[in-house]
């Protein structure tokens, strides 16, 4: 019974994979917003490069990008296009008002960086609406996707990464800030939030080739 259920889920995952498999590479443009309680960062334009099977690079146009370690590079392609995993059904759930099938992906490769991925798949449109991924090195990430005009390729218009952050405090001897522990009201307001990175894509150039040097 479990095997039959698993096969069903493999079928669904394979349909999603087939959609994503249409994309060999892409260059996308968009904007990046970093929301971390102890980081004051401006919104910036970014360029995202992807090449099969798992090359991924996000570059901020003229500026420093701050991203959760390992988190953003864990994209759908790297999750769903891996062959060595078992798919287990885990019920149904509603994501952003859309009915989804919950599928847990367990890698069979012991060396895999990903320990467990939970995909919330929109069966009707064969799109992953949400993914919760636990990694060996970098903790758990929740990725929520919103689709628009590139949904035929399974490429989202908006991706939101949620992750846990550690506490931040530096000794005054390092920062040379000796003028008291003044906290701004903005700081208090945001103190208990989780980390969040939001990428809004404005355009994709799909399957037009991407130079490998971009990923170095």
């Amino acid at each position: 019974m479990i095997t039959a259920f698993s096969q069903d889920m493999m079928g669904l995952v394979n349909k999603v994979r087939a959609k994503l498999d249409q994309v060999n590479d892409y260059v996308a443009e968009g904007s990046l917003k970093t929301e971390v309680s102890f980081i004051k960062a401006p919104m910036g334009k970014v360029k995202v490069y992807f090449k099969k099977p798992d090359k991924f690079k996000l570059k901020k146009e003229g500026g420093i990008s701050i991203l959760p370690r390992g988190g953003v590079s864990i994209n759908l392609s790297s999750i769903a296009t891996t062959n060595n995993f078992a798919a287990i059904a885990a019920g149904e759930s509603i994501v952003d008002g859309i009915q989804t099938k919950v599928v847990k992906l367990l890698p069979t490769d012991e060396n895999s960086e990903i320990i467990l991925s939970t995909l919330y798949i929109d069966e009707l449109n064969q799109l992953v609406r949400k993914a919760v991924t636990t990694t060996k090195e970098n903790g758990t990430y929740e990725i929520t996707m919103t689709y628009g005009k590139y949904s035929n390729f399974g490429l989202p218009d908006k991706v939101v990464f949620n992750f846990n952050t550690k506490d931040y405090k530096l000794p005054k001897g390092v920062t040379l800030e000796f003028d008291g522990d003044e906290k701004s009201s903005d700081f208090d307001k945001l103190k208990n939030r989780k980390g969040k990175v939001e990428i809004k894509y404005t355009s994709y150039i799909v399957n037009m080739g991407v130079n490998d040097n971009v990923f170095n």
Partner: protein
């Protein structure tokens, strides 16, 4: 007045001692820039070690703006000592050489004489800061290029867009000029009370050192008096490098987190300058010049 100022400037800039400060600044900034050029990435790794476990950074953190910030942080504590060398000598130096009484035989008022002396010392302070700006900012931009300015504060990290940095440095240097002018005014005031330069110079340096220590120690007793020490306000040029954020914690470009603090500190420093110079003129006018 203009003639008096020209004479005073001539005297300042024809003294070899004046150029010690410029040479010291050049050497200090050069050493910092050389060190960061050779091994700056290791320094950045050390600074970022707290964050690099959780975050990946892509971009040039070690850039000209960042180097300039490090230099200013280290240097603006020490520059007052160099300013004291000239400011503390303005009146006492003349007394020591026996030229003070001779100068006052000219048909100028004591107030004019004192103001010309103070403006000359202020010009020296201004030029020293311009020299720091050229070496610390322009030279660092040339050597390290530009990018966003990423600063680690004690409780949070601030990233300032590279197009939003330069005007902050202009503001910071203007504020630093006000800070250094306070030291100039203090040295100038103390210069009234001695017949040789060593006393006022050492006294100015001592006051700066003691006040700076009191300003930086987080002991409750000292914290009560810190708002009344001008050295506490002298470091507030750093406030130009903090930004406001919106409800989503996204930086509002062109904003300053605590502009009121800058304004208050600038006002306090200005009051100190006016106070020290007025007191110096008052004391000098009452003084019977015998040397």
């Amino acid at each position: 007045m203009w003639k008096l100022l020209q004479i005073e400037l001539y005297k300042i800039f024809h003294r070899p001692r004046t150029y010690i400060s410029f040479a010291a600044i050049t050497a200090l900034i050069g050493v910092i820039q050389l060190g960061l050029k050779m091994d700056g990435e290791a320094y950045i790794d050390f600074l970022m070690s707290n964050l690099k476990d959780t975050f990946e950074f892509d971009g040039k953190i070690l850039n000209g703006y960042f180097v300039c910030y490090i230099i200013l942080q280290l240097l603006l504590i020490h520059v007052p000592l160099l300013i004291a060398l000239i400011a503390g000598d303005m009146i006492s130096g003349e007394a020591n050489m026996g030229t003070l009484r001779l100068l006052l035989t000219k048909p100028v008022s004591k107030t004019e004489f004192m103001l010309a002396k103070f403006f000359a010392a202020s010009t020296y302070t201004f030029l020293l800061l311009v020299w720091i700006a050229i070496l610390a900012l322009a030279d660092s931009i040339f050597l390290f290029g530009t990018d966003d300015l990423l600063l680690q504060k004690t409780l949070y990290v601030v990233q300032i867009d590279r197009h939003d940095v330069f005007w902050r440095y202009i503001g910071a240097f203007c504020f630093a000029f006000l800070s250094m002018l306070t030291v100039t005014a203090l040295g100038f005031f103390l210069s009234n009370f001695a017949e040789n330069s060593i006393g006022p110079i050492v006294a100015t340096m001592s006051i700066i050192i003691v006040f700076t220590i009191l300003s930086t120690m987080t002991i409750p007793l000292f914290q009560k008096i810190q708002p009344y020490l001008f050295t506490t306000h002298m470091v507030n040029w750093k406030e130009f490098f903090d930004e406001k954020v919106d409800a989503q914690n996204v930086v509002i470009k062109g904003s300053i987190q605590n502009s009121q603090k800058i304004f208050n500190s600038a006002l306090i420093l200005l009051l100190h300058i006016v106070g020290f110079v007025s007191a110096a003129i008052f004391v000098f006018k009452k003084r019977d010049v015998l040397s």
